[in-house]
């Protein structure tokens, strides 16, 4: 047996889909399950069904590159992701499950004067809002990650970096399972292989969902759907500020631990880290064209590999195991959307772009609070869908990690 076999989580599946629940959550990924988990464990709301089209974690929750960090570019986001980072730190203890959480520090490398300026500013802003980040020079970078070629292959000299020591990774699937188990133990029903075919609408109010297995009435319906949210929202006549783009990544065979930090470059547009199992995981920017296709491209693999090698030449002889794609829902301001939709009874958590995994606990916690209290929690109030009409976008493109 390998040490990574999941040996503790126990998933308990319901026999049948009932026709009524207090809360129905569409999407059995990290955000949907975290919301259910916090509803059940923090608010005692247990009459909850999570409806999942495939298996739990089959969307972006199982396709991302598992980085946890809080070093964002606008104060509202820094506070939110810092909360998430802290919840992640306590998640193993809280659930009693090994999610392979490991703090390893994250380096965002700058190669030009403009890059230095951006990383200094990032460090200053994050420090001010409580997400520990410092600006460091090449010597310190070399100490933290000796594998980085400080000459950047001659083209991308390493001039400095913002360093975020609490940057971490965890095993994406295990986060999903720990939350699913915790929710299930507290009475939440998770229904896999259940496709939503429509929303039940009465006037301006959403009263439930229609599925291939029957209709469900619900006091509150929450959409936590990666990739499909535009279509489901349109069932309630709702338009969203979302465009769905593929995001690709690839992974190597496994090796002994050795790449201790998470390394990223906003100019080279890639980031690399080593998983608990020892694979090197490398991701890059989103594909430019909106698409729902999960097909990988060789152009991505080749260019991402080439860019990673400019900074981490020791990767050259590692064997590529597989590549894959997820579908990222991108908003115009590169920040998520959480909260009411303008349709009574319908809530949404979306726009999770390339930063959804790291937000799972805080997003779930806040959405659960919103459902339980009916009040928009202060932490996520700036992320409401109404921010566009109020002309208060949260422009954070520079923090997408890949932009």
């Amino acid at each position: 047996m390998n040490e990574f076999v999941e040996s503790r989580v126990r998933l308990t599946w319901p026999d049948r889909l009932r026709s009524e629940y207090d809360v129905v959550i569409l999407g059995g990924g990290g955000h949907g399950l975290a919301t259910a988990y916090y509803l059940a464990t923090r608010h005692g709301i247990r009459d909850v069904a999570v409806i999942e089209r495939g298996y739990i974690g089959s969307g972006n929750s199982g396709r991302n590159t598992t980085v946890i960090r809080a070093n964002y570019g606008v104060p509202e986001a820094i506070r939110f992701y810092q909360r998430s980072l802290e919840l992640f730190q306590g998640l193993e203890e809280e659930t009693g499950r090994w999610i392979m959480h490991k703090e390893k520090g994250l380096l965002w490398i700058a190669h030009t004067e403009m890059g230095l300026r951006a990383e200094r500013a990032r460090a200053a802003l994050n420090h001010a809002y409580g997400a520990e980040t410092v600006f460091i020079g090449p010597d310190e970078i070399n100490e933290i990650c000796p594998q980085i070629d400080l000459a950047g292959g001659g083209r991308y000299p390493v001039m400095g970096a913002s360093y975020h020591p609490r940057g971490a990774t965890a095993r994406h699937d295990r986060v999903v399972w720990a939350l699913a188990e915790g929710a299930m133990q507290n009475g939440v029903e998770v229904h896999q292989n259940t496709t939503v075919t429509g929303l039940k609408v009465s006037g301006d109010r959403v009263t439930g969902v229609k599925t291939e297995r029957g209709d469900i009435s619900a006091g509150v319906v929450m959409m936590a759907l990666g990739g499909q949210v535009t279509m489901v929202a349109s069932m309630a006549g709702l338009r969203l500020p979302i465009r769905s783009h593929p995001l690709q990544a690839f992974v190597t065979n496994h090796y002994q631990p050795g790449l201790d930090a998470i390394v990223a470059s906003t100019e080279l547009l890639f980031y690399a880290s080593q998983t608990a199992r020892g694979e090197i995981l490398i991701g890059a920017e989103i594909d430019r064209q909106p698409s729902y296709s999960y097909r990988s491209s060789y152009g991505f693999l080749s260019s991402c590999a080439g860019r990673a090698l400019a900074l981490l030449p020791f990767l050259a002889d590692l064997r590529v195991l597989r590549q894959w794609a997820g579908i990222c829902d991108m908003t115009p301001d590169y920040s998520p959307v959480m909260g009411p939709t303008g349709r009574e009874g319908l809530l949404v958590t979306t726009g999770w772009g390339t930063w959804g995994f790291k937000a799972i606990p805080a997003g779930g916690e806040a959405m659960a609070q919103l459902i339980a209290t009916g009040e928009m929690p202060e932490l996520i109030a700036p992320f409401g869908l109404d921010r566009f009409a109020r002309d208060l976008p949260l422009s954070d493109r520079g923090s997408a990690g890949t932009q």
Binding site: S58, E113, S302, Q323, D391
Partner: protein
């Protein structure tokens, strides 16, 4: 290589059933420092360094230079596999055919849209774009799943045939054709216990358990023009459900692991895979997939589909897949070597190399403020545009008025997007009634061309557009003595402030555009790329006794900041409306229409949440990005901060994100800062207009 090792009595990995077909992980070794190499897929050559691989190899300490290249080819048909059916498919195909033969070391590693087949070959990487792919990859032999399967001395039927053909004596080999109960032995197999329970002593066991189509490429090609022939097209019959032993040799997953996670509720193929990591190793399910399916089928899961096939089907290294990729190119202005000659430190700004600093930064600054200086502004976006509808187009594109510009006049303008946010800024120069010359920022040039063309087509306007960014150089001659330097170049009537003329400077035809970003008299000399060096040198020579010294970007950032000029993307943000930037005058809302007008009308009614303001403080400049504090609360962030030599204080631009009333008690870097109106230097612009 595997055969060569086995000939010497060495099992490449120490044990495990050998297939010699590239389907299992049981022959992986480290070759020349590269781990996870299937020795059955590599030709043995002298001087190759082969080492036994541990379960988890070390990361390499360093890399070796890689000579691999990627070649692109085109064909009507690509045939992957050159067994009988592959050969037939290649023979019968119409048009041009390219075939890959794994036996010659040509391994297709992925099938992508197009269709495009990428293969690793002894000659390097190959990418073939084609109309149709024929998958003739054959079938893999089923591996034994039972206790003892990790022993040495177990071979598939085909492997045994290959070894015998290579003259290797397999001794007392016995052949079994059903999954055995177990193998016995220590290190090397000593006996096999068959399904029927018979114990047969043997030091070599050949397993002939059936075939499973190598369907990875086919599954990867779903939705593409892909056809499958030969054994790869076999219907995949399930083996008997595994009962004991290692199912996935890559990740070391046993049947009891499957049982354990099944009991815990992991009942989907993907969940079972993810919870055990079966199928996620070197062979990507090549060994375990049939057995996992069979396991689930026995549990009552109806016909579990194989898990998704993803590239790469056969492995390549990161260095190999990077072959043929070229990093984004950097641009050089025509004056690149001049800057190097002058000792400049070059830095990249967007796509361009630009002089950041020359050896004497003080001279850079003071030559502009007190004498004359040259700056290379060739990177500015430049566009010529003409046509009957040109005024109509520009009136739509720019938030300022355009129609009233007279020939020879220049106007500074913002460019807004449809949300009313500032996209870029630059100049509008009117050449004649139907002809204009536009400039954009260095970073915005490429987008500007797309933007202008897009709107011209959207409005169906009759215009001609030529982007001249890369074909014209531009030199900024700036400082109180700029006029004198131009006079020496033969320009007796330089343009007035915010005007332009076409004239020769030292014999070089220039469009001389007068404005001021530095705060002093400034003439931008736009000229043919090929004349740049000549013009620069003549200006340099003629300016020597005027005290001319060139200035780079770093000095320019200080000079412009003293004038309070913001820089798009450095000081502005995604949601910077003219109002937030304090540039409401730049958007003429009385115009009938322009891109972003409706958005400005809409958002101007909303409360103002943040403003870009001027700030000053004593002492040295804080970092650009420093936080503005009101007592202990962060209320904003500095975007630009420079110590101004001429003003003897620090001047800054920065966003205030709190109540926009007059801010008080603001500090930065532990020191008090004052809100100050900008321009900080020469506020009425007398010097620039002089």
């Amino acid at each position: 290589m595997a055969v060569a090792l086995l000939r010497q009595g060495i099992h490449p990995r120490g044990g495990g059933c050998i297939c010699l077909g590239g389907d299992c992980p049981n022959c992986v070794v480290e070759v020349d420092g590269v781990a996870y190499v299937r020795s059955c897929q590599v030709a043995a050559r002298p001087a190759l360094e082969v080492a036994r691989q541990t379960d988890t190899p070390r990361l390499p300490d360093e890399s070796r230079p890689l000579e691999t290249e990627l070649r692109t080819a085109f064909a009507d048909v690509v045939v992957v596999g050159q067994g009988e059916s592959g050969l037939a498919a290649a023979r019968d195909a119409d048009g041009t055919v390219i075939s890959f033969d794994a036996h010659r070391g040509e391994e297709a590693i992925g099938l992508y849209a197009g269709p495009t087949v990428v293969a690793k070959t002894p000659a390097g990487m190959v990418s073939v774009q084609c109309s149709r792919v024929v998958v003739a990859t054959g079938a893999a032999e089923e591996q034994p799943i039972c206790p003892g399967s990790e022993l040495d001395g177990i071979f598939t039927k085909r492997a045994a045939e290959s070894l015998r053909a290579a003259g290797i004596d397999l001794g007392d080999a016995v052949t079994i054709d059903e999954q055995p109960q177990r193998f016995e032995g220590s290190g090397r197999v000593e006996a096999v216990v068959t399904a029927a329970g018979d114990r047969i002593a043997a030091s070599t066991v050949v397993v002939d358990l059936g075939l499973h189509p190598r369907s990875g490429l086919l599954r990867m090609g779903q939705g593409l023009e892909v056809e499958v022939v030969g054994d790869a097209a076999l219907t995949d019959s399930l083996p008997p459900p595994p009962t004991e032993g290692v199912v996935c040799p890559c990740s070391d997953v046993t049947v009891s692991d499957l049982e354990a996670v099944w009991d815990r509720g992991f009942r989907e193929m993907e969940l079972l895979k993810r919870a055990t990591l079966a199928g996620t190793g070197t062979c990507q399910g090549g060994v375990c997939l049939p057995h996992l399916r069979s396991y689930l089928a026995a549990k009552g899961v109806s016909t579990p589909a194989p898990f998704t096939a993803r590239p790469l089907t056969r492995q390549a290294t990161i260095g190999e897949v990077a072959a043929g990729y070229d990093l984004p190119p950097f641009r050089r202005t025509a004056l690149h070597d001049e800057h190097l000659r002058l000792g400049a430190t070059m830095d990249r700004f967007g796509a361009w190399w630009r002089p950041w600093r020359y050896p004497d930064p003080e001279a850079e600054y003071w030559s502009v403020r007190e004498r004359v200086s040259l700056g290379d502004v060739s990177t500015l976006g430049k566009m010529e545009i003409s046509g009957p509808d040109v005024v109509a187009l520009l009136e739509k594109l720019y938030p300022c008025r355009v129609a009233d510009l007279k020939d020879g006049q220049v106007r500074y303008a913002l460019l807004l997007d449809e949300r009313g946010y500032v996209l870029d800024d630059g100049l509008i120069c009117r050449l004649s009634e139907h002809r204009f010359y536009l400039t954009f920022t260095s970073g915005g040039a490429s987008f500007a061309e797309m933007w202008v063309r897009d709107w011209a087509e959207t409005f169906d306007l009759d215009v001609r557009i030529l982007d001249r960014t890369m074909s014209l150089g531009a030199i900024n001659v700036t400082g109180p003595l700029a006029r004198e330097l131009l006079r020496r170049g033969g320009v007796d009537s330089p343009p007035a402030y915010l005007a332009h003329v076409d004239a020769a400077v030292f014999g070089v035809e220039c469009r001389i555009v007068r404005l001021s970003f530095t705060g002093e008299v400034s003439f931008e000399l736009h000229h043919p790329f090929s004349d740049s060096v000549e013009l620069w040198r003549r200006l340099e020579e003629a300016g020597a006794d005027l005290g001319s010294y060139p200035h780079g970007l770093d000095a320019l950032f200080t000079l412009r900041l003293e004038k309070g000029h913001f820089i798009v993307g450095m000081d502005s943000e995604y949601d910077s409306t003219p109002r937030r930037l304090g540039l409401e005058w730049a958007a003429r809302l009385s115009k009938p229409d322009f891109v972003g007008k409706q958005a400005l009308l809409r958002t101007n009614r909303l409360p103002l949440n943040k403003r870009l303001l001027g700030w000053e403080m004593d002492g040295p400049a804080p970092i650009e990005g420093a936080i503005l504090w009101q007592v202990a609360t962060p209320v904003g962030q500095v975007t630009s901060a420079r110590y101004s030599p001429v003003l003897a204080k620090t001047v800054m631009l920065g966003w205030l994100r709190s109540d926009p009333a007059e801010p008080e008690g603001i500090s930065c870097d532990g020191r008090p800062v004052r809100h100050a109106s900008h321009p900080f230097y020469d506020p009425d612009g007398a010097r620039a207009r002089a």
